[in-house]
Symmetry: C3
Subunit: 207 residues, 3 copies
C-alpha cells in the first residue's frame, strides 16, 4: 500500500505546486508550471532518500513516478478552471499530500533503522521540503514558517505512527490513522484558527 | 572526450558565475566573486552525483576540477575589462557551459542505468542548478524560470542525445550534435524572441 | 575529542540560529525558533556527509545530536533574556561554532582521502552552510557574502589544520590551534574592521 500511497501523494503535490505557479509573474508558462509541480512533488522525497543513503532515488529508477507527475500536470491543464474555483478542494489536496508524505517518510526511515526521533523529523522533511524549495525559488516565505500548525500537524501524526508501529499495529491501519490525524489537525487548526504560542524574548531591542 | 568536455564546461560556467557577482552590492569582493563562480560551476554536477549516488563526487576526488575553476577565476581577474565589453561573448560562454553540462549529465545518468526520461531531467538539473543556487543566494529569480527557452533548449538537446545514444551513434558525434542543438536553439530563441505559450488559468481572481 | 567538539559546535550553532529567528516576523513561534536552530546546527554537516557519501548521516544515527539540539533550545528558552543582553557573547558563540565546524569538516574529509584543497572547501561548507540555509529561508543575504572575513577566517584555519595534519602534529593540538586561529582572525577582523579588497571591474556599465 505504501507504493500507491506514495504515488497518490505525488499526484496531489504536483497539482498544488503547479497551481502555486500560476499566480507568479515569471512562472506561468507551461514549463514553469510543470517544473514547479515537479519540484514540489519530488523535492522532499529526494532529499529524504539522499539523507538515508537510499539509492537509487525513487523517481530515477521508477518511471511510474514521472508518469504520475505528468498525468497530474495534464490533469491541471484540462481542469484548470475547475481547480481554481475549487480552491478549498485544493487546500485539501495539499493537506492530503503533506499527510501522506510525512507517514511514508517516517515509515521508510524506520525501515532503515533510523532512531525514531530522527524518523519523525525526516517524515516532516519529506512532506514539507518540496514546498520549501518551491517557495524559496518563488521568493516566498516558506509555508512551514508562515503557518505554524503546518509542521506541528505533521509532527503529531508522525509521532502517532511511530507509537502505532512499535505497538505492532497492522501497518496499513497505522498509516491510515496517522494520515487522518494530520489531516484532521490541519483542517481544525485552519477552521478554529489555532496557532502555537509566540516565543517572546524579554528585551526586543535591536543589537 | 567527456572528461575534457566537463572541464571546458566548468571553465565557462565559473566565468559566467563570477561575472554575475560583480554587479551585486554585497558580493563583489574577491571571495564573493570566486565563491559565486565556484558554486555555479560545481552546484549542478554535485547535485547530480548525489542523486545518482555516484561517489566519490567528482570535484572532491579530482584536483583538476578545482584547478580549472581557479584558472577560470584568474582568467576573470586579468581579462575583466575585456570580458565586460564582450558581454555577448559571455552569453555564449554561459550557453556553451549549459549545453555541455546537460549532455554530460544525461550521459552519466544513462551509464548508471537511469531510465531515459529521468536522465533527460537529470541532464537539465546538472546544467541549470548551479545557476539556480547562485540566483537564489543572490536573491534573484532563477534564470530557468525567467527565460523559458533556457530549459526547453536543454531538454531538446538532451532528448536528441538519448535518441542518438539508443541508435548506437558514435558517442563523440552524439555529444557534439546534441550540444550544438542546445546552443542553436538558445541563440535562435534570443535572436527571434521565441517563448513558450503562457499557461493561462480561466479565473485569475485571488483565493 | 572530535566527537565532543562536534556536539559543542552543534550546541552553540543551535543557540545562534534560534536567536536569529526571534526578530523575524513570521518565525518567532516555538516551532520556528526550534526549527531554525535545528537547520543551522545540522545543515552544514548533513551536506558535508552527503557530499562525502559518509552514511549513515550523523544526526540520523546518533541520538545525542538531537538531544544536544533540544538541550540548546531549552537553554535558549530559560535564558532568553540573558542571551539577548549578552549579544556580544552570542557573537562569540557563533564564531566558536563556525570555527569548530570548519575543523571537524576538514578532519572528516581528510579521513576519507579527499584531496586537501577540497577538504578545505568542504570544511568551509560544513561551517557556513547551515547559516546559508537559514539566511536564505529567512530571505536574508547569507552572512558568508555580507561579511567577507567570515569565510576567509575559516579558510585560513582550515589551511592551518591541513598543514599541521601533514606535519603529523598531535591531532588534538592541531584542532585547538586551528580553531583558535579562526576565532582570533574573526574577532580581529570585526575589531579592526578588516575586509578583503573589492573586486572592481573596469567598466561597470550595465549590459
Amino acid at each position: 500500500m505504501s507504493y500507491w500511497l506514495n504515488l497518490i501523494g505525488i499526484f496531489f503535490f504536483t497539482i498544488s505546486g503547479a497551481v502555486a505557479a500560476r499566480d507568479k509573474k515569471h512562472y506561468h508558462d507551461y514549463f514553469g508550471v510543470f517544473f514547479t509541480g515537479f519540484l514540489t512533488a519530488i523535492g522532499g522525497g529526494t532529499l529524504r532518500d539522499m539523507m538515508l543513503g537510499a539509492y537509487p532515488i525513487s523517481w530515477l529508477n521508477d518511471g511510474n513516478i514521472l508518469i504520475t507527475i505528468f498525468v497530474a500536470f495534464i490533469f491541471t491543464l484540462f481542469f484548470k478552471n475547475y481547480i481554481v474555483k475549487l480552491y478549498r478542494t485544493l487546500f485539501l489536496f495539499d493537506t492530503v499530500g503533506v499527510a501522506i508524505y510525512t507517514i511514508v517518510g517516517v515509515e521508510k526511515s524506520l525501515e532503515m533503522d533510523v532512531n525514531p526521533y530522527a524518523a519523525v523529523i525526516l517524515g516532516l522533511v519529506s512532506a514539507v521540503f518540496g514546498g520549501v524549495i518551491r517557495d524559496t525559488l518563488l521568493n516566498e516565505i516558506p509555508l512551514i514558517f508562515a503557518k505554524e500548525i503546518y509542521a506541528t500537524a505533521c509532527i503529531i501524526g508522525a509521532i502517532a505512527y511511530v507509537f502505532l508501529h512499535y505497538f505492532k499495529l497492522d501497518n496499513n491501519i497505522a498509516e491510515i490513522v496517522s494520515i487522518s490525524i494530520i489531516i484532521i489537525v490541519r483542517v481544525s487548526a485552519v477552521k478554529y484558527k489555532l496557532a502555537l504560542p509566540k516565543f517572546e524574548f524579554g528585551n526586543e531591542t535591536k543589537d
